[in-house]
Symmetry: C2
Subunit: 405 residues, 2 copies
Amino acid sequence: MIKARLEGGVTSAKGFRAAGVSAGIRHGGRRDVALVAACRPCAAAAMFTTNAVAAAPVLFDRKTVASGRIQAILANSGIANACTGERGLADAARSAAETARLLGIPEGLVLVASTGVIGKPLPMDRLLAGARDAVAVLSPSPAAAEDAARAIMTTDTRPKRASATVRIGGKTVTVGGMCKGSGMIEPNMATMLGFLTTDADISPVALKKALKAAVSKSFNRVVVDGDESTNDSVFILASGAAGNPRIKSGTADFRLFAEALAAVCTALARQMAADGEGATKFVSVTVRNAATERDAERAARAIARSPLAKTSWFGKDPNWGRVLAAVGYSGAKVDDRKAEVFYGKTWAYRKGKTADAPQLAKLAAELEKPELDVTVDLHLGKASATIYTCDFSLDYVHINADYTT
Amino acid sequence: MIKARLEGGVTSAKGFRAAGVSAGIRHGGRRDVALVAACRPCAAAAMFTTNAVAAAPVLFDRKTVASGRIQAILANSGIANACTGERGLADAARSAAETARLLGIPEGLVLVASTGVIGKPLPMDRLLAGARDAVAVLSPSPAAAEDAARAIMTTDTRPKRASATVRIGGKTVTVGGMCKGSGMIEPNMATMLGFLTTDADISPVALKKALKAAVSKSFNRVVVDGDESTNDSVFILASGAAGNPRIKSGTADFRLFAEALAAVCTALARQMAADGEGATKFVSVTVRNAATERDAERAARAIARSPLAKTSWFGKDPNWGRVLAAVGYSGAKVDDRKAEVFYGKTWAYRKGKTADAPQLAKLAAELEKPELDVTVDLHLGKASATIYTCDFSLDYVHINADYTT
């Protein structure tokens, strides 16, 4: 199993430079414009929000990335450029075109991403000045990758980066990435943005396939509050600079690459869940031995979304009743006389039996930990699924209620 | 339109008596055993939780109510009798049989309902002593109806009652009821229980049909935290004591009766939402001019379930972006260039236009009110739906996190 490191980032792979600068879009001089640029046109793929209210950059990127060839991505935090109509679309296109001009590359090779307040237009002067500054300081250094990771943050409390390497055809292939969490923004949306880079030589078709598989088991398995934003996007660029024999779909090399990519995405997804707004605990919810894959996933998702379960984790309460009830309404097949609920490796409910005093003492110890595994064993089949989430704290309400427009 | 009164309750209709006593199941001498009994076997119908983890009383009642004839319902708070296996089923059956014996009526005419902690057995001695006490003080008085309404409360802060009258065939027909809210219990589940009585003479088939219609527009339109309990149940008993010509399905009389029943259920549902755990605001979410009924309902439900929207109401923030984003991920058809979002009668977002300073001042006034109407006009069709809910406050987290088993 390939394990991702929590260092590195979008410049770990050969052929990429990055920058993160302050353009005055956010308050207090925070970095708010990020740029990721490759030395040459890359094979590219992306996945976007399924929200029917999609932001202008999402609408722009969907069309632009269809070519499968992209060289740079400009991102800003502070303003989401969502619900901004024709003007928003024009602003997205203009920022991409201007960035291409600044980089001296053809139009059509630049994507854009935004995260922040909904319903306000991008401050184009500031954004384009930021793009200019970012181009001036582009660097392949780890520090530049960190600057970029900081520039996409909103209510995130820390930048999120990861990388992994794998040997393919005698060459070292690197995958790196950064993301911003599903935290809400002053004052608006919970947006997830992910930027992945690799120096693998890989066909756009295979790249898309690997991205889809990785995202489905990582970013799509994160639940913070169950809200899905208008701007959610994940991008991957492949420079080919590793010099490996080109990776094609369905080969052993492909499986290796896909595993490395999934490891990076999962490491990012876990950081995102752990940094959920107001979170005091990172929680992995696993439903195992479900009748079907679909049952396992929807049961785990229902638990991770349940405000009752999430507040019980915050309260360090081994409240298996709330966990099992969420499985019950998830639509998954469940028989409470067969099911078991565990916190860590300690059971709280076992086939009709409930924890007694010594068992409750063990459970209390599990619930003190900052990382909690909640497992439901349904004993109905062989399928399992894990969802990454966090608890629901007083601070979540503070963060999301206290801002007034 | 028939309007329900917020007084009266399960003894408003002729032929019913009620009681609510303290049996020591809950702490501090709170009333915890309720009994509703009719003077004769009634036409009866019920609806139960769709949670696959259904509590023992639900399993018992599903079979028992199939006869369509019931004379009494025994309910307790404090212990849910859920996830209690064979013992729980035996306890449910025994409490029903014992209540029948105490009332001197045939077995099979008594239903049971429980709400409270999951995974603990009913304290049968206390419950049966409570049933005995309740039988001894059964009364048709409004005070007895209030006692019963108090005995089913858990984290509810006030009893919930309503009644309505309607003229059918020259006779006054009364519908009354009580419910407990979708608040969680020390420490377990969010359970909704509804008890309705009427003196209408009506066939069990017509009664079931009217109940189903009323519940679908009332109790099923309440969202507190989106969790669905193992014990949710709504019951109706019809004594026939009004002496009206028997109501049959599909007649004008039926429509009149169904309207009265729906009015009572809606009044109860609104009280339930307003008394959601930690709620500071009652919120009606309406989505209108949707393409289809289903779209209207799922969009309204998504808004009402969104922790982001709910915390913004608590924070008095006219955050239409969160509202529109919830519509976006609900699966409903939406075009943000056509949509409008209103708080009260004041718009916050109108077809791409956002509120300016004077408009924001008006919105601030709307958000100060303890009752808030949030309306999304999709301008895509003619369907509309309303969901009753509440805000998401710091107290919600306190109530649901602070208990430790």
